[in-house]
Symmetry: D2
């Protein structure tokens, strides 16, 4: 008998009453993220979506999106998904991440959706999927797993 | 507007008419897999499920399932999911994998489901989710991403 | 000018006066490790070496060492290297690891050396190199990076 | 007896007589790399060193180097190390990478050294170490493992 297996967990608990302001702040505050023109699309407890309209500066020599842009969007969006679950006075630091580049990434927009796989007190594990949007078509171009440390702000 | 994003790809193509026999052979042929008493539960194009009934030999000192057992089941089941897509005369070799241990793993059974995320000619990327089953309860205990090389048998 | 870069850190501090007994206990205590016949070769602060004399049970169908055996030895030896740095009453849990299988692994012995790359209060990062020994020849067959959580025993 | 284990392989073979021009071209050609002001420091068969002088645009909100900058420099320098070993008409694509952020990264300069761990015909595995330089001090801040695919240019 194939057992009844849970899909990605839902029903995450929000601990910070000002989480929405805090999450927006976390997303846009990093100068590097503004330098890359990333945009926050939406978020809720344990999830975040973001995107970047692709310009020449995001590309490799061959016109495809640079792996570094993909890795940065995957990491930053996963960190923001984790940040939705923080208590006041806590911050998120990336401990490690792994990204698989699945196909050559080309299009007008790179779109990321991230969700928390395991919310822990000290470590939060999140995943990110990156899609290239070209016209009506959305194609999965990379997948990342991110380990985030929950740290008390000093 | 949030775009319409594809979920995990489906509709994989089977290339080897004898794929079912071949997949069973691939799963059980490794002496290490038999040494660990792994069982093939089911498979179809691009997917595989497997399990192991937990015994003392699979555990750590504290009674939880050893990370090595989880990694081995995740890798082997991902490899079998990839093997469903091979042409005759090809074999699968693991190039690399990463596994996140999400929680202490305890129960009667460790259950794995794996699916191909990207079927390539030279590389196949697959994911594995591992669940511990205890009574009626199934809990996600780890998640792995596996990069597999497609190689011509000599 | 090329700067003077530090190589792998040394001079780790031992915190537990009984660390030697504790490390031996940690290495051999897991039933799964005994089931696989792993042997502790040597250890010091922040480092550990181990091995396994290869038998049929460790192999894949083609006679090469199974990726799961390599992953398990890499993880377990990295965990033991980390355990040399614990204070009394602490234990090590693997949070995640990644292993690259570099070549087909064949020989009489699989040998692992692991070292701590970053000793943290909550997370210890270690690396493992695995060699296959065949006669006089030692060949690097895989490389792993392991993130370990330091946890208080209850 | 502790065996005599090889350290990181050396003596890699150069296949492209114009490899030096090609490597410089590969490093600087990507618009994203120029957007981030990365600099090629030195290279030889199987190795590459690079750096970036840190400016506000490379940072997170807290003044530390953004994980995405570190990941991008680690990936790009590993890819350039791999590119030293190509034959004419081949290019390098990143298949996947993993990076561990070891400490908060602060300083005037982020410096990367990368080397090939395994040169294969289809896959090249490389490692990158990233250091923050502050005054006379160089500190290891992250470590990456990169899997690169060797592809024929069309």
């Amino acid at each position: 008998m194939v057992p009844d297996l849970p899909s990605t967990p839902v029903g995450y608990q929000i601990r910070n009453p000002d989480f929405a302001e805090e999450v927006e702040r976390v997303f846009y505050q990093a100068p590097f993220v503004r330098h890359l023109d990333f945009e926050l699309v939406s978020f809720e407890a344990g999830r975040c979506e973001s995107r970047v309209l692709l310009q020449a500066q995001h590309l490799q020599q061959d016109g495809y999106v640079h792996a570094g842009v993909q890795a940065t969007l995957a990491d930053h969006t996963a960190g923001t998904a984790a940040a939705t679950l923080l208590s006041e006075g806590q911050i998120i630091l990336t401990a490690e991440f792994k990204v698989n580049l699945l196909r050559a990434a080309k299009g007008e927009q790179l779109y990321c959706r991230s969700w928390v796989l395991k919310p822990g007190r000290q470590l939060i594990i999140a995943e990110s999927e990156l899609f290239c949007l070209a016209g009506e078509k959305a194609e999965l171009v990379s997948k990342a797993t991110v380990t985030l440390a929950v740290v008390d702000k000093r």
